[in-house]
């Protein structure tokens, strides 16, 4: 007899202050998602089907009929495929070395792995030019001339950028495999190679799949490396750029953007599925696998891992080094003259980027926190679609989002035009560009919060506001801090999303680096890159420090 009684009391409860607050918590971030993600995406789609005098598919037929588009598509897919294969292979070697082999110096590898994430993607390309370009250190030392602009250079640059992602994803999958499983196999008489084939590989399967899709996506959507070292090898990302900036053809740019969106959406959807499959294998109270030393395996793995890491370090290190060289490659004495940057607005864009990144990080973290708090109070039927929407932005390449923003906010049709050309809009696009990663990370934090804590606070008389401030925020503080710094660091280095939104008066660091390089001032570009990396490193340091401080506050003085 489950007759639903809608008593007057129940209706009153709907107007309860807490419910109102929960609605606001969800409503504001949701409004942001609609205004700054859904709406621009609709606009970009509409523009792709806008033809003279109405709507139609003429833009598509024109794009699909052009050989340039097909060449760029083919190049993108080829580049994506090759980079993916290479980075997953190399990434697996390092991840396996880290989690399944015993050798010293792993902290070094862990450190190196995060390096590429600290720099704009075009730094890999810059580094390659200094190493393998016509005046590169290696080319000159060996006396060989490698055609670095084009497929080879882009493949290496993209791979070096993607490998760390692969290592992290595959590593996360390997960590999940319990030590007891290996002990059981050992007792049953399985040889190490059998254990690898029967336990390690199957466990890493979804991690590998996942890593492949992530590498593929970041490769085909990356703009920085392609712009610097791609040369004549046009890919979809550079194609959009040349349509929009070169030919001022926004509708055609929109079409190419939609075409670029297709593979990334598909790849992202599969990746999410793979992730779900992987997580089901997780068990509570798992025992960490501690490999014992096996000379042959471990020496080879250590050598390979360190070799790959050396390449990553070399490419980034050479940029820092080159920024101090007086006149590359003729006068190799050190000086700081390249740091005297006056072109392209000098350092003003660096300061502006820091301000923008702080805005994106603070506003974004607050918005995500509110969303997380509110979603916990929403019924499943409401929460689920919102969660899906919040996880969507990751499927949209930065170039496409940037294009969508210029089409939306550079139009005087709505009051949103007021945002155009402001630092706030760049902060907003950075937040929504990385919305998914921040949201998913924070949701993980929220999932660890036992509902009983909030219920206990509620029974003691705490309302939603109090519970959020006294109980929830302190509990997920470490997650909030890491989301804040994640948004900050990404905003510092991102290029693809903001390239369309910068104006001569308002530029950001990554764009300045590209402009300097375009102008042939490669050493100054290197110097500027070094400054950006320094800022991001400081941010990373600040994050680690605040984590340590927070860890201490929770376990203060006195007994253990």
């Amino acid at each position: 007899m489950s007759v639903t009684q809608t008593t007057p009391a129940a209706t009153r409860q709907r107007l309860d202050a807490d419910r109102l607050l929960a609605l606001v918590c969800v409503g504001l971030p949701l409004l942001g998602l609609v205004l700054f993600f859904l709406y621009p995406m609709v606009i970009v789609f509409l523009r792709s089907v806008t033809v003279e005098g109405g709507y139609g598919l003429a833009n598509y037929t024109q794009v699909l009929g052009s050989s340039g588009f097909w060449r760029a598509t083919l190049h993108s897919l080829l580049m994506g495929g090759a980079t993916t294969a290479l980075s997953v292979f190399l990434g697996f070697i390092i991840a396996h070395g880290l989690h399944r082999c015993a050798f010293p110096g792993k902290w070094l590898i862990r450190g190196v792995i995060i390096l590429p994430l600290l720099a704009p993607s075009l730094v890999q390309a810059l580094g390659l030019i200094f190493l393998l370009g016509r005046n590169g250190v290696i080319s000159r030392a060996l006396g060989v001339e490698i055609e670095i602009y084009g497929f080879t250079g882009l493949l290496i640059a993209n791979t070096l950028y993607a490998v760390p992602q692969a290592v992290m994803i595959i590593g996360a999958a390997l960590v999940l495999l319990d030590a007891r499983v290996y002990e059981a196999a050992e007792v049953l008489g399985a040889s190490p190679s059998r254990q690898f084939r029967d336990l390690t590989l199957p466990a890493a399967r979804f991690g590998i799949l996942n890593a492949a899709f992530v590498c593929f996506t970041i490769t085909i959507t990356d703009f920085g490396n392609a712009a610097v070292i791609g040369g004549d090898y046009s890919v979809l990302a550079t194609e959009i750029y040349s349509q929009v900036i070169g030919q001022r053809n926004f509708n055609m740019g929109a079409v190419v953007g939609i075409m670029l969106l297709l593979p990334t959406v598909i790849s992202y959807a599969i990746e999410r599925q793979a992730m779900k499959r992987q997580q089901t294998g997780q068990s509570a109270g798992q025992v960490l696998y501690r490999p014992s030393f096996a000379p042959l395996r471990d020496l080879i793995m250590a050598a390979l891992s360190l070799l790959i890491c050396a390449a990553i370090v070399a490419v980034i290190g050479i940029v820092v080094y080159a920024s101090f060289v007086t006149l590359w490659p003729y006068n190799m004495s050190l000086s700081t003259k390249h740091y005297n940057i006056t072109l392209a607005g000098g350092y003003s864009s660096l300061w502006m980027t820091i301000v923008i990144s702080l805005m994106a990080a603070a506003g974004g973290t607050l918005a995500l926190f509110l969303l997380g708090i509110g979603l916990r109070r929403m019924p499943r039927a409401v929460a689920q679609p919102i969660q899906m929407l919040a996880a969507m932005p990751a499927a949209v390449p930065g170039m496409v989002l940037g294009l969508a923003y210029i089409l939306t906010f550079n139009s005087t049709a709505t009051p949103l035009y007021l945002l155009y050309g402001t630092a706030a809009l760049i902060a907003i696009i950075n937040f929504y560009h990385y919305h998914t990663q921040g949201f998913l990370a924070l949701m993980t934090g929220f999932r660890q919060l036992p509902p009983a804590l909030e219920e206990a606070a509620g029974s003691l008389g705490a309302g939603l506001r109090r519970t959020a401030i006294d109980i929830v925020a302190p509990f997920i503080a470490p997650m909030l801090v890491s989301v804040f710094f994640f948004l900050f660091m990404r905003s510092m280095v991102t290029l693809s999303a903001v390239i369309f939104l910068t104006t001569p008066k308002l530029s950001v660091a990554a764009v300045t680096i590209m402009r300097l390089d375009d102008a042939g001032l490669t050493s100054q570009a290197a110097a500027f890159s070094t400054c950006v990396m320094a800022v991001v490193c400081l941010a990373l340091l600040a994050m680690k420090l605040s984590m340590i401080v927070m860890g201490h506050r929770r376990r203060p003085k006195g007994a253990s």
Partner: protein, 346 residues
């Protein structure tokens, strides 16, 4: 009546967690909600706490409906199985949190906190963080936090289930003591019948979302009304009318009216006397030594029986014995085991 739940109903999708459940708690009374997992006991507690909304029915405190009061305004105290102390606050801050929300003055608050720490026998942990305490200590603090605000009702959701056996017995006595001395009406959810027997003034036994039987611990143990209650409350020998007729015909005198297959006889293991006898018609199949008692598995004319004896019983495995059961030791009850299963889809 202090707290009344009338016809509370709650469904989750197609699953009926509570089907028109009515219970009552008197002032100062300690009531246990007892039942297997999934019987609806925790759902009922959450409805009373205001952590979930009923689909139907009403909950009254001193005659006034609670349905328009959110949990934070009910003034109840709750203790969860998982301790659920706020990890970012010290023990003193945890206990004082409810008082802080009510705007209690600082001096009064610290006074109250130290009183409560004394009450739960942990006077020296005020400045510790929950992570530094053992499970049992954390649960004592959770109890102190719940009673700090002088709750109108104390709700305990399996508070002892996460603790190990010895701590559990200690804390059980502690809860009993605190509840008695403060006289707070208390509702505790548990699946442990021993816990319920030891603590409760009244036990409400639930199964499949309905109340199967409510009464004093003695009532439920000695006078179960259904097979479910008899089986859930300790060990019992449940015998069909046929078996009784064959083996212990003298017990039939107390048999109520009713068809043979609707009735079952319940005889507790300690109410059967075993005497070694050459001509006995029962055999001891196995003996387990349990310290204060010995549990015998006996094959009898009525089928296998469990018998418990204290002290000086010299039976050994394989011995022939005769069995004695007093007529009043046998309780006749309804054989209900199939009924609720058929009514409620799983």
């Amino acid at each position: 009546m202090y707290l009344t739940v009338r016809d509370a109903t709650k469904t989750f999708g197609t699953f009926t967690a509570l089907d028109r459940v009515s219970i009552e708690i008197e002032r100062g009374e300690f009531v246990c909600l007892l039942g297997p997992s999934g019987c609806g006991k925790t759902t009922l507690l959450r409805l009373i706490a205001g952590l979930a909304e009923p689909d139907g029915g009403e909950i009254l405190l001193e005659g006034e409906s609670l349905s328009n009061l959110p949990a934070r305004k009910r003034g109840f105290g709750i203790v969860f199985q998982s301790y659920s102390l706020f990890p970012n606050m010290t023990v003193a801050e945890n206990i004082g949190y409810g008082l802080k929300i009510r705007g209690t003055a600082r001096s009064e608050m610290s006074q109250r906190v130290s009183e409560l720490l004394d009450l739960v026998k942990l006077p020296h942990v005020a400045d510790n963080f929950p992570g530094q305490l053992s499970g049992g200590q954390q649960q004592r603090i959770a109890l102190a936090r719940a009673i700090a605000v002088d709750p109108r009702v104390l709700l305990l959701d399996e508070p002892l289930s996460a603790l190990d056996a010895k701590v559990r017995t200690e804390l059980r006595a502690e809860i009993r003591h605190v509840q008695r001395s403060l006289g707070i009406p208390t509702l505790m959810v548990t699946h442990d019948q021993e816990e319920a027997l030891a603590l409760a003034d009244k036990i409400i036994c639930m199964n499949h979302g309905i109340v199967v039987q409510a009464g004093t611990p003695e009532d439920l143990y000695h006078r179960p009304k259904t097979r479910f209650v008899a089986e859930f409350m300790g060990i019992s020998n449940l015998l069909s009318c046929d078996a009784i007729r064959r083996a212990f015909p003298h017990l039939l005198t107390m048999r109520p009216e009713g068809a043979d297959d609707s009735l079952v006889a319940c005889i507790r293991p300690e109410q059967i006397d075993v005497t070694p006898a050459q001509d006995g018609n029962a055999t001891v199949r196995a003996i387990s030594f349990l310290g204060n008692l010995r549990r015998l598995e006996v094959d009898s004319v009525a089928g296998p029986l469990v018998v418990e004896t204290h002290g000086t019983n010299s039976c050994r495995e394989g011995d022939c014995v005769s069995l004695g059961i007093a007529p009043e030791a046998c309780t006749w009850l309804a054989d209900d085991i199939a009924r609720p299963m058929a009514e409620t889809p799983a």
